[in-house]
Symmetry: C2
Subunit: 515 residues, 2 copies
């Protein structure tokens, strides 16, 4: 940090005969700090280190300036600052001394770890590891990282960004910013921007069969916040909650935070089995499901199971959180309506996100809650973080209202369908006997089943070393699964890269599967 030199050992005898040693005053000629600031730092440091005692007199500004060859103004500024902050007292010209009310014993304690402000980094390391709350400890072990390989194959975190209508979004950004009023730049409703709630209500009604008024639509900071708000608001420590096995890890964190008991319920070709749930925990407080396109297995919950689940929730006065994960990407057959549309007694909280449809860093999700929950969620959100930033909500509202979202989804459906076909063909061609995939009507990923006996965690780790993200199916499980597999996202990978990446998997799978 450049040469630093000691200017002077400065001792001065003041009129009232108290003796002060200013000790080492540091000036760093290469520092970006102005001289007055360096002088301020040196004196402050001496006081905090307990070497300049409370009550001891400092030289006059004129005397100090002469001795240190500084302009008097520099010294005055440093003294002013030190007086304003309570380190010095007295009036300039009348004699200045170290503030008498400083608790000396504390200064000495500070001094044991004294450091100067010229050091660039903070040495405030706790003496002991921080003690976290029970809530804190409970969520620490839950996995949450999204690191993508350079190739992007086969992460499930994002769709194809090259096809995003960047220009349209930019146009809307500019017009939305220009049209924001002063009132809109102030605090907004914690439920979100009203026009966005309106257009989302219409979008969800028509495309997903969701039954709601705009008031029931609440904008969140991604789907994860919808989960954490719902669970915080409705689930007590010790309450039981059904989750699909395997399932999306986001709900685990939300449930762990409130110390709920997680009840894993098997998923088969008809989705989560409510009968098993009722057998294991008949009085559970909540069930978390992804009925349209189960994450990660991709199955659709049958109508019969949906009705059973709703019947149970109504009888037990339990809540159903419906995560409508990537269901808009259905490429064959008509879209299936949301379970929420079947609910007639207000027990379903419908959750969605635009992270996969637009982009994750947008951090806009939404929930549709029964009318009686609107006000409690509103209050909860206000206390958690007040609400979401307004600008991108406005942009998104117009993006939907002008039909860009529907157009974008239509384009991406056909792109993702193509990529799924290429992916399946590549797996069948290059990985026979090593990985089994089946077509799925919707979504951005498939489960690749491994041969019996293969450890998907090992396979996943080996693939990661070759730059391929393939999450182990078992990492989404709460209880051991019958088969092991990999969760493979093809949506963000161009066709050629899909084929090359599948080819690259071959030697690794051969090694892992046969060992």
């Amino acid at each position: 940090m450049g040469t630093s030199f000691f200017l002077a050992i400065y001792n001065v005898m003041t009129k009232v005969a108290s003796f002060v040693s200013l000790g080492f005053i540091h000036f760093d000629s290469e520092s970006e700090d102005p001289l007055y600031r360096q002088l301020y730092n040196s004196i402050r440091h001496e006081i905090l280190a307990g070497r300049l005692k409370p009550g001891s007199r400092l030289p006059s500004t004129r005397g100090m300036a002469q001795e240190l060859s500084l302009s008097r103004n520099t010294v005055v500024r440093a003294y002013d600052q030190l007086m304003a902050e309570g380190y010095l007292e007295g009036q300039i010209g009348m004699g200045t001394c170290v503030a008498r009310d400083l608790p000396e014993e504390m200064l000495t304690v500070m001094g044991t770890k004294a450091h100067t402000e010229l050091e660039s980094s903070h040495d405030g390391t706790l003496e002991a590891k921080p003690i976290l709350s029970q809530r804190g400890e409970a969520v620490m072990p839950i996995p949450y990282r999204w690191e993508m390989s350079k190739s992007g194959a086969f992460s499930t975190t994002i769709g194809e960004m090259n096809e995003f209508p960047t220009k349209v979004w930019e146009k809307l950004l500019i017009s939305s910013w220009k049209n924001l009023s002063s009132e809109e730049l102030s605090y907004q409703s914690s439920c979100g921007y009203d026009f966005l709630r309106e257009v989302l209500a219409t979008f969800l009604q028509t495309s997903r069969g969701v039954h709601c008024t705009p008031e029931q639509v609440i904008i969140t900071n991604g789907a994860q916040q919808a989960l954490s708000l719902s669970v915080d608001l409705l689930v007590n420590p010790g309450d039981q909650a059904w989750v699909e096995n395997p399932c999306f890890n986001g709900i685990r964190a939300a449930l762990a935070a409130v110390k709920a008991e997680i009840i894993p319920v098997s998923v088969d070709s008809e989705g989560l089995n409510p009968e098993e749930g009722i057998e294991k925990a008949p009085h559970a407080r909540l069930a978390f499901i992804s009925p349209s396109h189960q994450y990660p297995l991709g199955v659709t919950m049958s109508l019969s199971r949906r009705l059973q689940l709703l019947h149970w929730a109504r009888q037990e006065n339990a809540w159903i959180i419906e995560d409508d994960y990537d269901s808009v990407y259905r490429h064959s057959g008509p879209p299936l309506a949301a379970l929420q549309g079947l609910d007639q007694s207000g027990h379903v909280i419908y959750v969605g996100t635009l992270s996969k449809v637009l982009f994750p860093a947008l951090r806009i999700g939404y929930m549709v809650v029964p009318p009686d929950l609107v006000e409690p969620i509103h209050t909860m959100r206000a206390h958690v973080d007040r609400g979401s930033s307004i600008l991108e909500q406005v942009v998104l509202a117009h993006f939907i209202d002008e039909g860009h979202l529907a157009r974008h989804i239509r384009r991406m459906i056909s792109l993702y369908q193509d990529r799924q076909s290429v992916f399946i063909e590549a797996v069948q061609t290059y990985l026979p006997g090593l990985l089994t995939v089946e077509p799925n009507d919707t979504g951005l990923h498939l489960v690749g089943w491994l041969p019996e006996g293969a450890d998907d965690q090992v396979v996943s780790q080996e693939l990661a070393q070759s730059g391929i993200d393939a999450a182990a199916l078992s990492s989404f499980a709460h209880e051991p699964l019958v088969r092991s597999g990999l969760v493979l996202g093809y949506a963000a990978v161009p066709k050629l890269a899909i084929i090359q990446s599948v080819q690259r998997m071959k030697p690794i799978l051969e090694r892992c599967v046969n060992s």
Copy 2:
């Protein structure tokens, strides 16, 4: 909703002799739903109402089309959708019937509150009020609304937006959006955008005397999220927490959520008094303070008290949350350094926001945490909502880096200083004996003291009816205060409006004070 008419009571005897009454099929000629969708809705509704029993046969698509005078294609689409969703089974042409696996008793239950999808709003009202969690119940009573009067006088929620450098922000919005990479549009670090953390670290070091590396800076969704994350991570139910009396209500919600015991500690002209805190709750887990400019009283905590507080925190291994509320707006004298800069043992969590410096709807705040807390906060945030939206973080980073923030603050300081003078003069001129205000070196608001015996809640309510936002000082108190007063924000009110608003307060204050 237009005229709706009943097309037919449609009865048909099928080949296998099971008799089906399709009941009332509704078509609404003015509905935006296509005919196939209306047919789908009618049949689905009959099934869910239990009037079309599982196993009963429907007419062929051809037969249905003829009877209803629809194109066969319309009927095929409706049947297709109903089969995809599991309401019908069988193959078209071979005979179609209501799915046999539908649980009949549940359909009947659904039927008791049956409604058609043609209704625009959801009737999913809970039979009983929703039962909230203990956490939910605990935060519900805490006040959180920010409604601004039309005049904007004298709300404390926002600064003067007309002076915001809108054009600069717009330019940065465009360039930031254009330069975002695909990777940056994916999930980001929950700690925030790295470049923003860097420039904020520098800004806080130079302008606030905060000691930190960029890694210690964590971007949050406003200061409120910083409070709620910290408390959730560090405070257990039953733990004691010192708060200033009176104090910012945001911390109350965060502490109520974890069922902490709030210990109010008096604030005098030197700020919070640690000796009183130690007497009331020596082993408290946390102290919440706003030392630079106490909210709402506006006092600055003395150096001696700061050292006492730090000494206590170190001895008890307790946490200090330092809310550095609007401290950058100091207009006279040098800025006072943050308490965090005195902390040498890592017990201070420093919290700030850009809501008052830029605008509240931006929802960007920050916290500076000791190195050992970075990873736990990172994890906690990931589980709560993954992180903040990226675009405005990028914009803000460049706004700071290019010097616009410092320039904007300088301009606003002089504007707010002027407005404070006008406000004080107006109060002294028009409200003598009714309201007492004293100048303050910093901030966007002042406390106006009421004469002895006046009830500030009543005064506040009366003023609100005349369009003047003047929060009652007692609404920030946990224990009765010695004096009653009003919290009056002058920053967003032009000079003439300040004078007019003060004049408008006169008859109301006279009435309230003398009654």
